[in-house]
């Protein structure tokens, strides 16, 4: 591997990210998958970093999930997106940051389509006006939330209470990054580092002390693939893709995976349970899996948040070995206490995948 070659490519794929004043829109599925991540994004950006990150309860789905499942036509999605932009315009913002990678890809695709076919944008404006009497300006800047955490990664590193260093060996923890397909594969120039060797997550890992590990199937899809998973008969195909990735990364001793896509994080975490039940095989040390984190969760750990406040008890793969490795303090007894400190009940433990 020629590291300088990657650096050259990374230099070619940078984008301008304003330092403040962002209009933030949440994902429709992340709330269910890893519910603390989005809340922690606002906590970190507003309270720790002191940034102006605004959100409104009137925001809806962007329509991207239905679009990629072939359930609704693109013009419908465009009109939904036009309404989101109208909400941003009414709130007085011009920098737009969605939390979901598919939303980000959806917004990029629509803005690029309008750029190429302005008559379509005109028609969507008319449809939005007829539907809800709203008008909009297009965002001046569009970024994904992982772009913002990347942008502020060094500020986070300065405030870090935990580094991604193995406290036993003193070595950087070995982490792999996995980018959602809709982040840069459709429009490589819109992602930090491009599509083939993206830097957005690798930059966070490096800044926070970890070591980025490449493996042959790093670029392979996580297995979710929208219309594959959502057609129940195709789910075996989904898990086989995830299986391929874990088989490929097995010899590399990867200790954690960082993701920026709702589906990737969820499926690479949950399918490890399915693979373990089906084959008896686990990929972490001593019968554990490899923990898969969102970038908000990892930033939260680095900044010293309580792992249970970050929602890490909702991961399928046990995170405790990783927390112990980097020296995060936590109360094992508090794992299944809710925000009101009452018991939220314990999940049934898998047969083959070691969990707590």
């Amino acid at each position: 591997m020629i590291y300088e070659g990657k650096q050259k490519i990374w230099r070619d794929y940078q984008k301008e990210i304003p330092d403040d004043h962002w209009y933030y829109v949440r994902s429709c599925i992340r709330q269910n998958f890893f519910p603390a991540s989005e809340r922690k994004f606002t906590d970190i950006t507003q309270q720790v970093l002191g940034k102006d990150v605004y959100e409104t309860p009137y925001h809806t789905t962007c329509g991207g999930i239905a679009y990629h499942c072939d359930a609704i036509p693109q013009e419908t999605v465009m009109t939904i997106v036009a309404r989101q932009f109208a909400l941003m315009t009414e709130a007085g913002y011009e920098n737009y940051v969605p939390s979901c990678v598919t939303s980000f890809g959806n917004y990029v695709e629509i803005l690029e389509t309008w750029h190429e076919f302005p008559e379509l944008e005109t028609r969507i404006r008319e449809q939005l006006w007829k539907a809800c009497r709203r008008e909009f300006k297009k965002p001046k800047y569009l970024a994904h939330t992982s772009d913002l955490i990347y942008h502020w990664r060094n500020e986070i590193a300065e405030k870090a209470r935990v580094r991604l260093i193995d406290k036993e060996t003193g070595e950087p923890v070995r982490m792999s990054e996995h980018i959602g397909c809709h982040y840069a594969k459709m429009f490589p120039s819109k992602g930090i580092g491009g599509a083939e060797y993206p830097y957005v997550l690798a930059g966070m890992i490096e800044s926070w002390g970890g070591q980025v590990v490449d493996y042959p199937e790093r670029r392979h899809c996580c297995g979710y693939g929208f219309r594959q998973y959502h057609m129940k008969a195709n789910r075996g195909y989904c898990v086989s893709n995830t299986h391929k990735k874990f088989e490929s990364m097995e010899p590399y001793g990867i200790q954690a995976i960082l993701t920026n896509c709702p589906g990737c994080c969820y499926f690479m975490d949950r399918w490890q349970y399915v693979i373990a039940e089906q084959t008896g095989k686990t990929y972490g040390k001593d019968g554990f899996g490899i923990p898969v984190f969102t970038y908000e969760e990892l930033a939260g750990l680095v900044l010293g948040y309580d792992p249970w406040d970050l929602g890490l008890q909702l991961h399928q793969v046990a995170v405790e070995p990783f927390l112990d490795r980097i020296g995060v303090e936590y109360d094992p007894k508090a794992k299944y206490l809710g925000l009101n400190r009452e018991d939220i009940l314990r999940p049934e433990l898998p047969t083959n995948l070691k969990c707590f």
Binding site: M1, I2, G5, K6, K8, I9, P188, G194, A195, E196, Y197, D214, Y215, P216, E217, R218, R219, P251, Y252
Partner: protein
Amino acid sequence: MKENVVVIGGGVAGMEAARELLLLGYNPIVVEQQDHLGGHVAQWNRLFPDISSAGDLVRTLGDGITDANIFLETKVTFVNRLQNGYLVMLSNGVNIACRAILVATGFKLFDASRKEEYGYGVYDHVVTNADLESWFNGNDSDRFPAAPKSIGFVHCVGSRDLKAGNSQCSKVCCITAVKQAIEMKERFPDARVFCFYMDLRLFGKKYEDFYIRAQQEFGIQFIRGRVSEVGETLEGRLQVKAEDTLSGKPLKVQLDLLVLMAGMSCNPEVAELARMARLDMDSDGFLRSRDNLGGINESNRPGIFYAGACTGAKTVPETLAEARSAALAIHRYMQGR
């Protein structure tokens, strides 16, 4: 006194044209920005289809122009239109008045690192066709494993590729890949050799014979499908994913060496020359001939002529034939015919 003809570019086109111009009684002045003559061919080892020596060809051409004025490491800084010709200003301070200019600025090898999925410049054992020729010439490198067990060639890297901005076929890559695959098989008889292609365009004399020999005598496997992704294994081997469109299946293979057949793209520096001399350029960035049938050597400006790959991808025999043709066209122009 012999009349000046400025030949811009000292590759094989410029050299062959200069040789012909000398024989026709002119004073060719060859301007070459590199420190040597021969252009890309001078970096090559063997040429298809006879596996003849590229160095011998360049030496033969060089022997024919010992009486020509040759400026190496020199660029054209300005071209002024005069009443009856041109004033060509060079970076070494020399100004040349002439009635005719021959543009033989050639091509630029496509930068294979732009096809990021192939990992050129990122993975140690991904090389280009030019790197391989350099290695054949004895320039050793760690990027070439000592005893490769499997070798792949990727055709059309940066050719016929709209995303890369090059829609044209580079013409020579298919046969070059066949040639290089055979040469590697001769050096490493036990290695498996794969060629990944989207079309095989083997149009020239002996090309098809060469392709059949590659399969029948050397057992080279031709796979119709594009490589989608290259990665690196723990052992430093290359994991290559491709599609075999004839069997309709994806395939994954581990290789010790992957050779990218980087195509010909336009020489971007020619745009400045075109601006100075008001030459028309084509949409592909190459110079536009007055007529692609009968006037391939002629530009849109009187007294300015073309030879070789400055107007598009050419093989070496085509380039040499065009160079001789351009010299005759210049002679006719000088004679007022």
